[in-house]
Symmetry: C2
Subunit: 195 residues, 2 copies
Amino acid sequence: MMLETRSQATISRILDVARTLFLTKSYADVSMASLASGADVTKGALYHHFAGKEELYLALLHRDLKSKGLLFRQSVDAPGTARERLARLTRDFLTLPREERALIRLVRRDINIFHDPVRANLIAAYQQALPNCVGSIIEDGIKAGELRPQDTRLASWHFVAMVEVTLTPYANGVLGDVNAKLNHVLDLFFRGSAA
Amino acid sequence: MMLETRSQATISRILDVARTLFLTKSYADVSMASLASGADVTKGALYHHFAGKEELYLALLHRDLKSKGLLFRQSVDAPGTARERLARLTRDFLTLPREERALIRLVRRDINIFHDPVRANLIAAYQQALPNCVGSIIEDGIKAGELRPQDTRLASWHFVAMVEVTLTPYANGVLGDVNAKLNHVLDLFFRGSAA
DNA sequence: ATAATGACATACCGACCGGTCGGTATGAGA
DNA sequence: TCTCATACCGACCGGTCGGTATGTCATTAT
């Protein structure tokens, strides 16, 4: 019974290394050997805990989706104006540890590595988690008259795109402060750029 | 002397296939053999014209950057309000053949495959081509009082991010018409989403 | 006429990768 | 203490990939 904990610790170590490596290198460039050595186990241990490379990758996403889903739901369920709720959601996202933030962009990069429709759907679900949260807030904002009627899906993607682009290396150094980034996105989204 | 034309034709065929393959598969998953067979030559021909896989990839970007740079400059140099010029630039981009549009997103995906700083800079230059064009238009708009003063770099990235997201598969089917996409981005960027 | 060059084809190498498998160490339960 | 499942090791395999060495043939220069 206590061995389950040991197993979970190993699995956790493997997934932590996987997160780091998959973020810095492309999917194909991350070898099972490098994952093993990074987690201080052998390849045999990897295949003991995971059916294969793809399953390991998906397990990584699944673990992350669970924790993020919990975090995001709090922002969506929170009361307040659409702007306040979007601000909270975005702040929660931007103040996440760097690697956890980057994961959600990783999936956009690796979107077409799985040809199996079931796995592709898993990836898609993960990818749409944040836009869906934004979308429901925007929908409420439209109903409340706070936002003008528009295509909710597209508006969500536009909003998320602006948030994500602040994580791009090229945007770093431009605005270092989270609050500044946050306000820039919110101002642009609500009031636009016109003078 | 006439053989140069034959060479160029072969090179062009190789780069065309490379564009298609690199867009549908990840960098590592595109093999030199598949590039060769797709271009109806052998691997020997590839290594005759290109020093290696990386050089081939960079040549692909370089060829595309030249043609896009020409196109974009026309929009930047055009007269009119910032909104008109951004509209033209965006329209030029959105009406590009599908594969040429997608190339600029491809680079964002493969940003971290080259560890050599020289090559990484080439990638970065390619990646910043469109944002730079947008940036200079925005700058003019601010000077003309058409746009409120703001961080030009970040605003450019926000604008480009919104344009690019309309190319995402998940945005397809939402707004099929180029004009509709264009207007949605411009409206959001200038006027915001507030009621 | 012949040497030289450019544009390929063919055959092959070494490295590496995902995955397998027989075996071992460990620790819980009877 | 015996049993047995689980966690893990390490050698190995088939296959693929980037890259190279060498040959062939048409064209061009001398």
